[in-house]
Chain length 305, copies 2
Amino acid sequence: MRILVTGADGFLGRGLVNALAARNNRADKITLTDLGRSETCPDFMDFKPGDLGDPSFLDELTQSGFDLVFHLASIPGSRAEQDQALGHRVNLMAPLSLADRLAAGNAGTRFVFASSIAVYGDLASRTVNPDTPCHPQLTYGAHKLMTEIMLSDMTRRGALSTISIRFPGIVARPQSESGHGSAFMSQLFHRIRANEPFECPVPAESTCWWMSRDAAVGTLLHAAGLAATEGCIIQPPALRATVAEVVEAAMRVAGRRPLVSYGRNDALQRIFGSMPHLDASQAFSRGFRADANVDTLAQAAFSGV
Amino acid sequence: MRILVTGADGFLGRGLVNALAARNNRADKITLTDLGRSETCPDFMDFKPGDLGDPSFLDELTQSGFDLVFHLASIPGSRAEQDQALGHRVNLMAPLSLADRLAAGNAGTRFVFASSIAVYGDLASRTVNPDTPCHPQLTYGAHKLMTEIMLSDMTRRGALSTISIRFPGIVARPQSESGHGSAFMSQLFHRIRANEPFECPVPAESTCWWMSRDAAVGTLLHAAGLAATEGCIIQPPALRATVAEVVEAAMRVAGRRPLVSYGRNDALQRIFGSMPHLDASQAFSRGFRADANVDTLAQAAFSGV
């Protein structure tokens, strides 16, 4: 199977590459791409550095064709909000152009797109289900939603076999990564593990949707194997818990109890800390799984730190 | 006021140009654009022929800046479905590029976008309201929806003052216009007025949403004057009636009773003839109005024929 992973040097990308490497299926011909690569590329994978916003690079990258593509490359929300031109190029035009070229080469290509719960915007208190209306409050979410719509349309007309996954904040992202408004959800693991005080910007009772990188990688791989006809946009199950519950679990698992204080950043709480109930029964019945509980979430989050 | 009308030679565009001409406000500097122009341009308007998909034409067109833009240019649904590249260029890239250039020139520009009820896709029997989920079943509807999302985001971040209007099929389009799946909704007026037999492709009891060109032009002009802060996507009220009811009204108004027979085109009925109730109370309270009844609809439809 000819596999392409874009954004292969990102947090989620590195997790996926590790899982593909562990599978060690030498029948797979795996191509990775990103602007550059910070980690060694496994010897049976091919790393092609380049900019997906550059049409000639896209032509070269897609020339040989693929059976399965994981499109993870993305500019994070806060950064895309500040640099609109960059966000437009990477978060909207790159996936549209990549999908278009893949469709021209092989309509059977399976295209797994890392979308985001940022498509919803303000959710108020209603349970989220597949009919929840989307009113994105960041250009990042608007671009993800536009891409989902185009990819669903390509599946409808048989141009490509696509599936879009609406990921919540994935933990624990490296401390070096910036541009994510949800960074506090990862920082808490870093600080607790290092036994350092943590100033959480949102109140203790803020309710977030959590997903470990292991669960996110499992979600991507599961999505790759589903039939295209079953629906093109997936809200995978996520673990819903307050920040305080996750802080407590992280302390239990780490065996450390540094000082944790809570702030009142209303904007952050509104976007990331006011998540309602999630009815992911449809995704669950199709085999998608969330982290089991806050303790396994914390264990998984620490394992990637 | 500096006003731009794109698609000015289309059915809706000609109606809007006539209304602007009748207003005869010489303080307005009105620019029209389309690929070409079949009707004489009023002497106090400036007609600039060109292709909105051509970046250099867009640069030239937007150079002087505008206070108000009506973006009506569009490839109809059936034609866009057959020519995906053309639909992509005109129905998606042109509005995005135009809006971007206008935003760069003057963030206060009012941008009125002619969207379509094609954004909804299959509606089943649930009443349509502002929270109705959108699952477009044509690339045309997907492109309209993507454009709405981008324009809403531009309003959110203060880049442009946008409003998107989800128009139903507008009647009676000229017989020469092709590419609209809803063509039968206009043909019935032409046939009845000419006292010619009409073979309607959908059953008599098919329920459609109807709007005359007069009502559509009134909707555009009303939208132009609304404050940007009040919501960026509008489902205007439309007249809901069966094909048989409109056929009867058209016969009454025309004073002719040609033979009308009904077919069973399931695809057409599903998309255009199974429209559920419409809860447009939000738009109504903001001053939007539908045609009053099937008789006034028929009168208005005949007046444009």
